[in-house]
């Protein structure tokens, strides 16, 4: 097993759901409860030193019979060790919220806004959790699997030009 997984298992054994190494890159699935501690440990532990957060995104595992419906995915990179690591934190459909990583890596803010916009996952402690791609008054979260491709009438309800205005 990879160094990262071993170090995490020593400290957060109860939080780990699954660990693997698909395509040669170590991945762990964790519970969401202590995600901020886990991420801070991965950054600050000198043996791991994941100083860079490459991306935060989310996955909708609807009808996949995993631990929960949504997973928030953190892709980490360590410049000093030239190593990559991925953490998936599972988030329930009933309460899609998780602690923000913005206080650990400042660059998490925009990526978390995108995950909020597209999946409706709330990042607690985020300094400015607004939509980033869709209009501010847009209803719904379009990358959820149960969201229809053509939307729920958002296009049709938009203000239209009529010949009377001509």
């Amino acid at each position: 097993m990879a160094l990262e997984t071993d170090r995490l298992r020593e400290r957060f054994a109860d939080e780990l759901l699954e660990a693997g190494e698909p395509c040669g890159q170590p991945v762990v699935a964790v519970k969401r409860g202590r995600i901020a501690e886990i991420l801070r440990f991965l950054k600050e532990d000198p043996a791991l030193a994941f100083d860079s957060l490459t991306d935060v995104t989310a996955v909708d595992y609807m009808n996949r019979d995993l631990w929960e419906r949504f997973a928030v995915v953190y892709n980490l990179y360590s410049f000093s060790r030239n190593a990559r690591f991925r953490v998936k934190a599972f988030v329930p459909e009933a309460d899609p919220s998780i602690a923000s990583a913005a206080s650990i890596w400042a660059g998490a803010t925009w990526a978390e806004r995108e995950a909020y916009d597209m999946y409706g996952i709330r990042f607690e402690g985020h300094p400015d959790l607004r939509r980033i791609l869709m209009p501010d008054d847009y209803p719904g979260h379009p990358l959820r699997k149960d969201y229809p491709l053509k939307g729920r009438g958002e296009r049709a309800n938009f203000r239209r030009y009529t010949a009377q205005e001509d």
Partner: protein
């Protein structure tokens, strides 16, 4: 002393519409609203190889206040549409619109939650260009078609807001 000295004082009888339209159609100043690959083809049409200046329409203005032809080239999302409307409303009358390519005209292949299915739902379009993206020849053809159309207009009826 020059050419005018060989003519006497003179009078030309014509229609006001014809004079005004003749002046308007020969010098369309486009406002490029390029948001996607169509904009690349539009730039090619303006460049030296296709050279739209042969038809009096090369003076691209990035200020809506100085332009009278909006070329919508590319897909327009529902977040971009208010921006397009604002720019369109800032353009002084008389003004015309070319909807370039499948996306601007009808949404194209992007029949999705975020994309406007045709800018003609919001602004009056004079000429549509089919294609994905259209070639520069099509852009020039559209400008020539628009010039024909302007030639047939009644000046008094042109103003959109009236």
């Amino acid at each position: 002393m020059g050419l005018e000295s060989s003519f006497e004082n003179n009078v030309i009888t014509t229609l006001l519409d014809k004079v005004v339209n003749w002046a308007r159609k020969g010098s369309l100043w486009p406002m490029p609203f390029g948001t996607a690959c169509c904009a690349i083809e539009m730039m090619a049409a303006l460049g030296p190889r296709w050279d739209m200046s042969r038809f009096g329409s090369e003076v691209i203005r990035f200020s809506p206040r100085q332009s009278d032809l909006m070329i919508v080239s590319g897909r327009i999302s529902i977040k971009m549409m208010p921006v397009l409307l604002k720019i369109w409303e800032q353009m002084p009358e008389p003004k015309w619109c070319i909807s370039m390519g499948a996306c601007a005209s009808c949404g194209g292949i992007f029949d999705t939650y975020t994309l406007v299915q045709g800018v003609d739902q919001f602004i009056p379009v004079d000429v549509y260009i089919p294609g994905c993206p259209p070639r520069p020849e099509n852009v020039i053809d559209a400008v020539l078609k628009l010039q024909e159309k302007i030639g047939r207009e009644r000046v008094r009826e042109k103003v959109h807001g009236a």
